[in-house]
């Protein structure tokens, strides 16, 4: 398909906004910028007042199910493209759990049945994610898994973790770990003034930072690439910064919710904010933002976890964990930009360059010859978000009823229009 974007701004490789007259796309690639304004294309998108960014890469999405009724349209895939995401890593905690080549192939069939997004499967680090026995890493790699993860479940002990690293490194697989020390990871929210007030069992930052320090040592010893998924506290950031300064090839991401909210959001037992890792305090939040700015934390992820309505309908600690975020990543980016804490450019950089670094992939930039994976964003239309208008099966979004600050109008993958916002 030949396609042309005209008269907007784009995020250039030097991370500044540049005006363009035309971006011409052919054979899935950016063919030219500002040279072929007059060329005839099947489709021309008027970008006046809009901004073009590289499509987002999301390192952490929970799909829940690897299949759909029709196998062509998956609600979370629809949600992803509506959020400007063209590539995402699929956490192994789906049904069936991705711990065998058969499960990986099922997921691969979903990925190939729909071409809207690129789904990168993460294989289970341990069988059935039980944290005990290793899964078949070589088989998983051959079936298309790009890395390994134990999702949100802890690994039993350090000996097992060490063997996971050693065995993963044998096959050159990256290990994505949610750092959690099992014996300390007890509770439903951050351990602090709010947990004390609400009488909820709190999870200390130590449950994470102790695991981070152990994982860094194990990764260093094995030589495997460690990716720390969803770090949530200042102490973890400090440890990662030191490891990077020491020359270790460790990468890390943070969930968007941990950049935007703190444990104060849980006041009133608001179960939409029940998530793992928990929302921590303001010192942690600011430390995470600074770590994104200085590159200590490479990437931002959605940590998208769609939940059915009844899953959240329970007393706080018994409610399902997770937030539905993938559709509104750019809204959160704008929130952080408006507060002066993190620019939209830095946010997008973390979700493109940073994420591709963690995936050891070529950096997605808007330049001639690059794959045309793009998202076009507008400033919000000041309409309130309604649950019914969300594509995701999970309506567990904290911004329902809020005015959207930014919306994705179009998403392109390899030059094909995979999402276009319907005017309402």
């Amino acid at each position: 398909m030949k396609l042309k974007l005209v008269d907007g701004q784009y995020l250039s490789p030097d991370q500044t906004w540049k005006s363009f007259k035309s971006i011409y796309i052919e054979d899935g690639k950016v063919k030219s910028i500002d040279q072929d304004a007059d060329i005839d294309t099947e489709r021309t998108i008027d970008c006046s007042g809009l901004r073009v960014i590289p499509a987002l890469i999301d390192l952490n999405v929970t799909l829940k199910k690897a299949t759909t009724n029709s196998n062509t349209e998956h609600s979370e895939v629809e949600a992803a493209v509506a959020g400007g995401v063209s590539t995402f890593c699929c956490s192994p905690d789906i049904s069936p759990i991705n711990d065998s080549p058969a499960a990986s192939k099922l997921l691969a069939s979903l990925a190939s049945a729909q071409s809207k997004v690129e789904i990168l499967p993460l294989g289970a680090l341990t069988q059935q994610l039980q944290g005990e026995a290793l899964s078949e890493y070589a088989e998983l790699r051959d079936a298309g898994c790009i890395g390994l993860s134990n999702a949100y479940l802890p690994i039993n002990d350090l000996l097992t973790t060490k063997r996971c690293f050693d065995y993963a490194h044998t096959y050159g697989l990256s290990v994505f770990v949610h750092p959690m020390e099992r014996s300390l990871y007890q509770g439903s929210m951050h351990s602090g003034s709010v947990s004390t007030m609400l009488g909820l069992q709190g999870i200390s930052y130590l449950a994470e930072s102790i695991a981070v320090s152990q994982l860094i040592m194990l990764a260093k010893n094995s030589g495997a690439h460690l990716h720390l998924a969803q770090v949530s506290c200042k102490e973890s950031v400090d440890l990662i910064r030191k490891a990077k300064n020491d020359g270790l090839t460790v990468t890390a991401d943070v969930a968007v919710a941990n950049l935007v909210y703190t444990h104060e959001a849980v006041q009133g037992f608001s179960s939409v904010f029940h998530c793992c890792p928990p929302l921590r305090d303001e010192t942690d939040r600011l430390s995470l933002i600074n770590a994104v700015k200085d590159g200590t934390i490479d990437a931002i992820c959605s940590a998208h976890q769609p939940c059915g309505n009844s899953d959240k309908q329970a007393p706080f600690a018994e409610s399902a964990k997770g937030l539905s975020t993938i559709e509104h990543l750019m809204h959160y980016a704008k929130m952080l930009d408006n507060s002066g804490e993190l620019s939209v450019e830095a946010f997008v950089k973390a979700m493109t360059l940073g994420a591709s670094k963690a995936l050891k992939r070529h950096a997605p930039l808007i330049e001639i010859g690059a794959s045309a994976n793009l998202a076009i964003i507008s400033s919000g239309n000041a309409k309130e978000l309604k649950a019914g208008s969300m594509k995701s099966f999970g309506k567990n979004s904290p911004i329902i009823g809020h005015k959207l600050l930014t919306e994705v109008t179009h998403t392109l993958r390899s030059g094909e229009l995979v999402y276009e916002k319907q005017s309402s």
Partner: protein
């Protein structure tokens, strides 16, 4: 927190979920109303018709003897119909969800649920999302709150000391797992106590307890010094298994309220305990039964306080419904 959830549009109580979110005037009016019901308890005919024709359901998801009995007595003295549900043998054990079970009870024209639940926030969840049209009284949720216990303690302190303002109060024991302590600290601070101390080893203290306005003491004698009110908490025996404490003996020696230890407090200090008492574990029998103990007064006051909050929340619910009807017909 939750002030809008607990109050109707006129600022009157319609649920009683936590002390947090309620102001001094409202807490004082609960105490004043309770005072008026104490007189009812002293009559030969103890019933008043405030809740006549109303159905109150006792929903105790955790076992309780005293709290449940005093709620039942309080509801009966207000002339309500009372339904006691034994949750262990009913609905939720058959796999019915909490929400479904409560909506069924609402459909049976229940007017008020008295809820005790092991999960912090369960009564909030019910009031907010399940049956907002039924008055919810929190009879203890997880480690979060036990507001009627705190209010009966405030009533007892006010009776014995004539005031709460300016008093020094110490709470001794397992603060970490105590919903009673959390509600007491809130109520004492809101009603103007001069100082609220929590006295315990660090394994029994929740993080950042100072943020609730309490001062931490690890040593009993220092913590008791100059206290007007000494509140003991029950020490659950299972705390010995979770590596929180080494032994009952070591705990009793350091934190048990003995006659000797009590000498550090003011000579006219009163001793309170929410019950049930573990004699020889957290309190010496001679202190529990001594002249400074007001433990049985607390039990008596429990009925009056529960009558007060039930009648106030029921009238707040009726008021909220009338307001809604007016709004709909307008």
């Amino acid at each position: 927190m939750s002030s809008s959830l607990q109050l109707n549009h006129n600022g009157n109580l319609k649920h009683f979920l936590s002390i947090s979110g309620l102001d001094k005037a409202l807490l004082t009016s609960i105490l004043d109303t309770a005072d008026s019901f104490i007189e009812v308890g002293e009559r030969t005919i103890r019933n008043v018709p405030l809740l006549r024709g109303k159905t109150v359901v006792n929903l105790f998801f955790e076992p309780s003897t005293r709290t449940r009995s005093t709620f039942e007595l309080a509801a009966k003295r207000l002339s309500a119909d009372v339904l006691n549900l034994d949750i262990r043998t009913s609905a939720t054990s058959k796999g019915e969800s909490l929400s479904d079970m409560l909506m069924n009870l609402e459909a049976m024209a229940s007017d008020m649920f008295i809820v005790r639940h092991a999960q912090s926030g369960a009564p909030h969840f019910i009031a907010e999302s399940v049956t907002p049209g039924v008055g919810i009284i929190n009879a203890g949720d997880g480690w979060h709150a036990h507001p009627t216990q705190a209010m009966l303690d405030m009533l007892t302190i006010r009776q014995k000391k004539g005031r709460i303002e300016g008093l020094k109060v110490g709470i001794i024991g397992d603060i970490l797992h105590s919903r009673v302590a959390r509600s007491q600290i809130r109520a004492l601070k809101m009603l103007g106590a001069d100082e609220v101390r929590v006295i315990a080893p660090n394994t029994l203290l929740p993080p950042e307890i100072e943020s609730l306005g309490a001062t931490v003491f690890n040593q009993l004698s220092a913590g008791l010094k100059d206290l007007d009110v000494v509140i003991m908490l029950r020490l659950q025996r299972e705390r010995m298994h979770g590596a929180l404490l080494p032994s009952e003996q070591e705990y009793y020696k350091r934190y048990g309220l003995t006659q000797n230890a009590l000498k550090y407090a003011k000579p006219d200090a009163i001793v309170m305990h929410p019950g049930p008492i573990n004699r020889g574990v957290e309190i010496e029998s001679a202190v529990a039964d001594g002249k400074q103990s007001v433990i049985l007064d607390q039990v008596t006051n429990g009925i009056a306080v529960r009558m007060a909050v039930m009648s106030m929340a029921m009238s707040g619910q009726t008021e909220a419904k009338n307001l809604l009807k007016e709004a709909q017909s307008a």
